[in-house]
């Protein structure tokens, strides 16, 4: 059955250690549980989580929403943010996990990408190269979130024109952000037959839209 693939890229670098990452976990739990209440999402959404710090890991391979169980997320105490490497792994996984339409198989829906970071790429050269690769994958939508005061929105604007920012790294901000992500995914799962970018719902006040 065709799925709506959703990739979540989450910054787990040292600065996310502690309260921020705990808030992200709570946000992810809320996201999964609210999507599970939506019939269209429940039958079509598949979720993958890639974390990036010094290392990059796909901690959740693309898994249908009804089957998935959230894995543990850990953060090192300090270290670089390999955003470029994360995009590289993303492209590899998309190539492997997302079905293209052929005469024999029905293609999946265009994948969605949400990337959240509280800093800037430490591997800027790779990051730049990988932006081109990501664009070739024809995501239905790419939403980037610059979380907290040290996040560099201008780096994310090179990846997508849909960049939002959070002023703080506290649980309220993340909760609102993930609720909004969940609404966006839900709209995506209902927009069957959509050819252009899937429309995003208006973000809540805690989530600033950067233009």
């Amino acid at each position: 059955m065709r799925i709506l693939p959703v990739y979540l890229l989450i910054d787990t670098s040292g600065s996310m250690h502690g309260e921020p990452i705990e808030s992200v976990k709570v946000g992810l739990e809320a996201l999964v549980s609210s999507l599970r209440q939506e019939p269209a999402a429940l039958e079509s959404v598949a979720l993958s989580i890639i974390t990036f710090d010094k290392d990059v890991k796909q901690i959740l391979p693309l898994t249908p929403l009804d089957e998935l169980q959230l894995p543990e997320i850990t953060t090192p105490e300090s270290g670089p943010t390999h955003t470029g490497l994360a995009l590289q792994l993303l492209c590899e996984r998309v190539d492997k996990e997302v079905k293209k339409g052929t005469a024999e198989t029905k293609g999946d829906w265009k994948p969605l990408l949400f990337i959240m970071t509280d800093g800037k790429p430490s591997d800027s050269k790779l990051y730049k190269d990988m932006i081109e690769e990501v664009k070739k994958r024809h995501f239905g939508n790419i939403v980037a979130c610059a979380a907290g005061p040290s996040a560099k929105a201008e780096e994310l604007l090179k990846l997508t024109d849909k960049v939002v920012s959070l002023d703080t790294l506290d649980s309220t901000a993340f909760k609102k952000f993930f609720k909004w992500v969940s609404d966006s995914i839900n709209i995506g799962s209902q927009s069957v037959g959509a050819t252009d970018d899937i429309a995003l719902p208006p973000p809540p006040p805690e989530v600033n839209l950067i233009l």
């Binding site: 599970r36 019939p39 293609g107 037959g193």
Partner: protein
């Protein structure tokens, strides 16, 4: 020896063993020159050390077992509310005892142990949500119980959470959420039965859930005077805000255009008859020009009509994006002439059960991802002459069982792939599905006997069939 004597003897034996032990201790202490004043403290120290070592070993044994269990990475699958659930796991019986699960009760499930080391969670989950079960067990005697977490989620049954907000009424000038039409065409002058048209269209569950309009549309006519049938089906793009209107304009424009061009068009009918009598190149090109004039011009008119509406409303034509397929057909003494145009996805097919053929009237426009297609609103579809030609078809067949036009809401779940759309056997299955219905879901089939106006309502009910992940608007027109 009586009981008392036996007790005394045993006590004496014990006393003598203690004496032996103390002697041995004193001897060793003498040998090592441990001062008498230190000996008591030394004994205490020794016992304490050995005890700690014992505790440590015991704890280590527990930790080793815990590690082994945690490394099993036990997971149980998620379930669905009100559907029987079972999950089993195994734990090494020689190391793990007295297994219990905390948090199981609130899920409505129970734990049993069908065999040594085998554990079974079963029952019918009553509440949806994400739960964390805690499996606890004993390992080494004297050690505290160990535990690990077992996450599990019970999903609602998707069918139970669709909001059905379909309404027959026009809402804010938007078309009703469903429509049906039956065109009954009575016997001809010679008393031979003629084909009827059955049509139905229904808003998809995903749209009904959000109170979004039905983007699909159909229009069908039979002109009594000329005996031409015109059928059109369009599917507005989900992402285009006015596509529900675009599909309407496209179909209605086709009907109007064909009425003007088919009514009393003896030149066209003569060209068809001439070509059939002698299918040579010259007559083919005469006929092709006639067909183009009706079919191609119709498609262009639909494109222009949408542009005009967009201009009048101050909107962008792309906001009206819609697919469009239409066919004209007429019965002649030598058989059926059918001509068609198709841009977008869905399916249009001449199905002939007796003849064993299913002729797809074009190729659905599909991209590498689901939902990517082309629209009548796109200027580029008219640019390439070859591509335009591929969108048009004309054919003469002796007879057919049914001419089907359907949006992807129907063809995607029931055919899935292009290969299947070109497979007669799949169309045969489809046709019997149409007649038999979906008994497992309580959805009856459509009674396709001649002159049965009930069939339109039956088709509407049939279009409500369930396929996970397929809840788009559904529209089908059948000439049969």
């Amino acid at each position: 020896m009586n009981r008392e004597q036996r007790l005394v003897a045993r006590r004496n034996a014990a006393d003598s063993r203690i004496k032996d032990f103390l002697d041995a201790f004193e001897e060793a202490a003498d040998r090592l020159s441990i001062p008498c004043s230190e000996r008591r403290r030394f004994l205490g120290w020794t016992i304490e050390n050995l005890w700690n070592k014992h505790i440590e070993e015991r704890m280590n044994r527990r930790l080793v077992i815990e590690n082994e269990i945690n490394n099993l990475g036990l997971r149980i699958p998620n379930g669905t509310v009100r559907k029987a659930y079972t999950a089993s796991f195994a734990l090494p019986a020689d190391k793990v005892k007295d297994v219990a699960i905390d948090g199981l009760e609130e899920t409505g499930l129970t734990l049993s142990q069908p065999a040594e080391g085998e554990y079974l969670i079963s029952g019918t989950p009553q509440k949806h949500g994400d739960f964390t079960l805690t499996v606890s067990y004993s390992t080494v005697e004297g050690e505290p119980r160990s535990s690990f977490k077992l996450p599990v989620a019970f999903n609602p049954d998707p069918r139970s959470i669709w909001r059905d907000l379909r309404s027959r009424l026009h809402k804010d000038g938007v078309k009703p959420d469903w429509a049906t039409e039956y065109i009954m065409v009575k016997e001809d002058a010679e008393g031979a039965p003629r084909k009827d048209v059955i049509a139905a269209s229904i808003q998809g569950r995903s749209h009904a859930h959000e109170e979004r309009p039905r983007d699909d549309y159909f229009a069908a006519r039979h002109y009594e005077d000329s005996d031409w049938y015109v059928v059109a089906v369009a599917d507005g793009a989900g992402s285009a805000p006015l596509s529900w209107k675009g599909s309407e304009i496209a179909c209605d424009t086709i009907i109007e255009h064909c009425r003007e061009n088919l009514d009393g068009n003896k030149v066209f009918e003569e060209a068809i008859a001439a070509f059939h009598a002698d299918p040579n190149t010259e007559l083919r090109s005469v006929l092709t020009a006639q067909v183009s004039n009706i079919i191609y011009k119709g498609a262009v008119k639909a494109h222009e009509a949408i542009n005009a509406e967009a201009a009048a409303q101050g909107e962008k034509p792309r906001d009206y994006a819609t697919t469009l397929m239409f066919a004209i057909c007429k019965h002649f003494s030598f058989g059926w002439f059918i001509a068609s145009f198709w841009v977008g996805d869905g399916a249009m097919c001449i199905y002939d059960e007796k003849g064993g053929s299913a002729k797809l009237l074009g190729t659905p426009d599909e991209g590498e991802f689901s939902g990517q297609t082309r629209f009548i609103t796109m200027r580029e579809i008219f640019h390439d002459k070859d591509l335009v030609a591929k969108r048009m078809r004309m054919t003469i067949v002796p007879d057919f069982t049914a001419l089907f036009l359907m949006t992807d809401g129907v063809s995607d779940p029931l055919f899935e792939t292009d290969n299947n759309l070109n497979d007669f056997n799949k169309w045969k299955e489809f046709y019997s599905l149409l007649k038999e219905g979906f008994p497992e879901d309580g959805i009856p089939g459509v009674n396709l006997t001649d002159d049965n106006p009930e069939a339109a309502g039956e088709l509407l009910e049939w279009l409500k069939f369930w396929r996970p992940g397929n809840h788009d608007d559904r529209t089908m027109v059948v000439v049969k």
